[in-house]
């Protein structure tokens, strides 16, 4: 069965959704993330949806559930890279993603997460996060 990969970087989990998700794939991602947060002792989840051409109410609800599940497991979630046409459509659909923090791109998303995790983490994690941000950024600009 296909799965969406979850990358771990220090206290962060990174997910880049590259494919148009069918419903089961979205549910699997939700379950995988919950497990990985606990197993990896992650404090933050960043989900890059810049490749998604459509976010319907099912995917929107899934993003909200992931953020809520992560919060209960003491982790922050930021969704980044939403396309403008997707944002316009989501709001008209009636879904403004309450409870989901968003940022324009991976860099800004990481900034939000780093700030909300506070100064407690060492420079090592921060540096690792920077090193990985540019390739994801390139993705976001495709």
């Amino acid at each position: 069965m296909d799965r969406i990969p979850i990358l771990k970087m220090g206290e962060y989990l990174l997910v880049t959704v590259q494919v148009d998700m069918h419903d089961r794939l979205a549910m699997t991602l939700q379950e995988d993330l919950a497990e990985r947060i606990v197993k990896a002792r992650a404090r933050a989840v960043l989900i890059d949806i810049s490749a998604l051409e459509v976010v319907d109410s099912f995917i929107g609800r899934m993003l909200g559930s992931i953020a809520a599940i992560a919060r209960v497991l003491d982790a922050e979630t930021v969704v980044v890279g939403m396309r403008p046409a997707v944002a316009i459509t989501l709001v008209e659909l009636g879904l403004a993603l309450p409870g989901v923090r968003t940022a324009l791109n991976v860099e800004k998303g990481m900034e939000i997460l780093r700030r909300s995790l506070g100064q407690s983490e060492g420079n090592g994690n921060g540096a690792a996060a920077e090193a990985v941000a540019p390739p994801s950024e390139a993705d976001a600009e495709r």
Binding site: V54, F58, I88, L95
Partner: protein
Amino acid sequence: MLRDDTLSLRSSEDIVLIRQAVRSAAVDLRLGLVDQTKIVTAASELARNTLDYGGGGTVRIQGLQEGSRRGVRLTFEDKGPGIPDVERALKDGYTTGGGLGLGLGGARRLSNEFAIESRPGEGTKVTIARWTA
């Protein structure tokens, strides 16, 4: 030749195929990016309704041309239990299936044309269209 295809809708994987087919029709008819996104999203909502409440069915995807105006029309049909109270089903937040209840009302807002016919015990037919400005 304008597109006129009918796809069957039996599983949640078919929803992905329908999104792709509607996107390709909207691109062929040179709808703008926001219009494309709206009709594809509306298609996704209605396809899920057809599957979850109608027990599956079909979707017809038609290309439209009227003078300089171009558009895409989608017709979702199922032979499910039907909707007893269509007005109520169109209200946001109304659901019998545990979803958000945005499907019908949301699809109506995302479309330029919207029509629904439903007969209890016989099925439901929803038609939407999105046109170029």
